[in-house]
Amino acid sequence: MILSTIRNALAAIHPEKIFETDYARKGFSLDVTVSADRIEEAVAVVDQNGFFIETITGVDWLGEKAAQQKEAAAKVAEKADAGAEDAATGKDEPLAPGAGNQVEPLVDDMEVIYDFNHYSDFCRVVIRVRIPRNAPKLKTISKIYPAALWHERETHDFFGIKFTGHPYLVPLLLPEDADFHPLLKDFNK
C-alpha cells in the first residue's frame, strides 16, 4: 500500500505532525506538518515515491494566535467557574498546535500547503509548513519539482512569501511592478 509506504518514509524524517485523515470527509489521505528547514527533505521523499505535484498555496492565519489566547483564557475562566467539574472535551482536529500561556508579542503564522497526488495509486498527501508571518521565507522546491517555479511565484504574488533559491521570483499573475499581496488578510486597497 502506497499510503503506509509514504507514511513510514515521511515519518522517518521526523515531521512535527503526521496523521492519516478520513478521505470521504476531508478529500485527502495523509496530512503532514514539517518544520520549515525540513521541507526540501520531505518533498524529496514524496518525489522518490513517484508522486506528482498538484499545487502549492498559502493560508494567512492573521489573528489566529490572539483568538487562541482568548479561547484559552475563556476556558480557564470557565474551569474556575465550574469548579472541580471534569471537562472531558472531545477536541476536533485543531487547526494549529494549542497556544501556550506565555505572554510574548504575538507573531501569527503563514501556512504553506503542498499538495501531492499519485497517478497509479489512490493517495493524496498534504504537506504543511508554518512560517512566521512577519518574515515569511522558505526554501524553494523547484529543483525537485520544476512545476514549483510557477506555483511558488504565484504564492509569492499573493502572500509575499520569499522562496529562497528560486531563480526567477517575479510576479506571475499580478502586474510586473506589483508590490502588494492581495491574499493577506490585512490587505485592503
Binding site: G27, F52, E54, D92, L95, D115, V126, P146, P175
Partner: protein
C-alpha cells in the same frame, strides 16, 4: 525526435507571441528566444485576464461564490460548478439527491463534449484547416441548445446547487440528448475520415511535441496531456466522485506522448462521454432534484477540505479552508491548464515555431482558467 535544431548558433533574437494572437486562444503572451526558426527559450507571460477569484471567494458567502466557478473555465463550466458544490457538500456533510447526481453527470459530460468539439475546431484551425471548425460548431450548437433549456445559459453555467441542481430535466431534454448521441455517433467517422486520417494533419502532429510521462509527473500535468503520455490517470476512475463508479466507461490512453496522441485521447473521450450520457439517461431515477432542508446559511466546521473533478483539461481541485463562519476563509483553485502549461517551456525547446504552436494547441489551454 525529428524537428529539433541540429546545432545552435550564437545569434538569437526575441520574438513576442501574443497577448493578442489567434494561436494562443486568449490573452496569453509567450516571449520566445529564437535561433532562426528554432526556439531556444520560451517564457509564457500570464495575468492579462487575472481577476483574483480566490480573493473574491473570501469576500462572499459560500453560496455567493457559485457563479464565479463558471467563469474560470468557460468551456467546461459545469465541471467547475460540480467541483465547488462537491467541496462545500463535503465540508457541510450534505447528501445529494440521487436524481441530481445523474443530472449532474449527464450535463457535465455533454459540456465536456462541447468543450472537446470547440478545442477540435480551434486546434485544426491553428494547423491551417478551416472547415472542421464549422462542422464542430454545428454539433456543439445542439449541446448548447440542449443545456440552455435546463440551465438558462449557453456558456457560463451556474446550474448546480448545494444538494442538487436548480432545475429538473424534462422529457424533451432526455429525447434531445438521445438524439444527440445518435447524431454524434454518426458524425465521428466523418471527423476521422475528414481530419484524423488527413496526411497533412498526421505530418503536423505525429512525433511532434513530445511530452514524456516523467515530465508530466514533474510538472503535475493531468487530463489528456498526461493520458497522451501513457499515464492512465482520470479522476473519474482514480477517486470516483458523484456516480461515476457506477458507470461503465474506458479511459483512453495513448503512450506516444506526441501531439497526435493528445489529439486521439480527446477524440476517443467524446465517445466515452456519449457512453456515460447514454447510461445516465438509462438509469435516471425519479425523485427530487435537490436534497430537502439545505440550510440557508452554511457554516462548515473548521478545517480544510479538498475535492477534485476531471474537467475537459484535467484535474481541477478546490481546497476550501473554513473558519466556521458563513464565508470561506481561503479558497485555493487548482486549475489544470495552468499546470499543463508549465511544461511548455521545457517541451518546446529546440522545436520549430510552427510545431511549437501545434504543441500549444494540443495542450488545450483556456486562459481565464490559467489566470483565474
Amino acid at each position: 525526435m525529428k524537428a529539433f535544431a541540429p546545432n545552435q548558433s550564437n545569434e538569437t533574437f526575441v520574438l513576442n507571441l501574443g497577448p493578442q494572437h489567434p494561436a494562443t486562444h486568449g490573452v496569453l503572451r509567450i516571449k520566445l528566444v529564437m535561433d532562426g526558426e528554432y526556439i531556444v527559450e520560451a517564457e509564457p507571460v500570464l495575468g492579462y485576464i487575472h481577476r483574483m477569484h480566490e480573493k473574491m471567494g473570501e469576500n462572499r458567502t459560500w453560496a455567493q461564490f457559485l457563479p464565479n466557478t463558471g467563469r474560470m473555465d468557460y468551456l467546461h463550466a459545469l465541471a467547475y460548478n460540480h467541483c465547488y458544490v462537491s467541496v462545500v457538500e463535503r465540508a457541510n456533510g450534505i447528501e445529494v439527491a440521487e436524481r441530481a447526481e445523474y443530472i449532474r453527470v449527464i450535463t457535465s459530460e455533454l459540456n465536456r463534449i462541447s468543450s472537446h468539439l470547440l478545442w477540435f475546431g480551434a486546434f485544426v484551425l491553428d494547423l491551417g484547416g478551416f472547415s472542421p471548425l464549422l462542422y464542430a460548431f454545428d454539433d456543439r450548437e445542439h449541446i448548447l441548445d440542449l443545456l440552455e433549456t435546463v440551465t438558462g445559459s449557453r456558456l457560463t453555467y451556474c446550474y448546480f446547487r448545494f444538494g442538487g441542481v436548480c432545475n429538473d430535466i424534462d422529457e424533451n431534454f432526455v429525447a434531445g440528448a438521445r438524439a444527440f448521441i445518435t447524431r454524434m455517433r454518426e458524425r465521428m467517422p466523418m471527423y476521422h475520415a475528414l481530419v484524423t486520417k488527413n496526411i497533412i494533419l498526421m505530418k503536423r502532429l505525429q512525433e511532434i511535441g513530445p511530452v514524456s510521462a516523467e515530465m508530466c509527473r514533474k510538472y503535475g500535468a493531468t487530463g489528456p496531456v498526461a493520458r497522451g503520455s501513457g499515464i492512465n490517470f482520470d479522476v473519474r476512475k482514480h477517486e470516483p466522485f458523484s456516480i461515476y463508479s457506477q458507470l461503465d466507461f474506458d479511459v483512453p490512453v495513448y503512450p506516444q506522448g506526441d501531439s497526435m496522441a493528445r489529439y486521439m485521447v480527446r477524440m476517443d473521450e467524446i465517445e466515452q462521454s456519449l457512453r456515460i450520457i447514454e447510461q445516465g439517461l438509462e438509469k435516471l431515477p425519479d425523485g427530487p432534484v435537490i436534497a430537502p432542508k439545505i440550510p440557508k446559511t452554511l457554516k462548515p466546521a473548521k478545517g480544510d477540505y479538498y475535492h477534485a473533478v476531471e474537467t475537459a483539461r484535467g484535474s481541477f481541485g478546490i481546497r476550501a479552508v473554513s473558519d466556521g463562519t458563513n464565508t470561506p476563509y481561503r479558497l485555493k483553485l487548482r486549475t489544470p491548464s495552468y499546470s499543463n502549461l508549465i511544461l511548455f517551456g521545457e517541451a518546446c525547446r529546440g522545436m520549430l515555431l510552427p510545431d511549437a504552436l501545434a504543441l500549444l494547441g494540443s495542450l488545450d489551454l483556456v486562459i481565464p482558467e490559467i489566470d483565474r
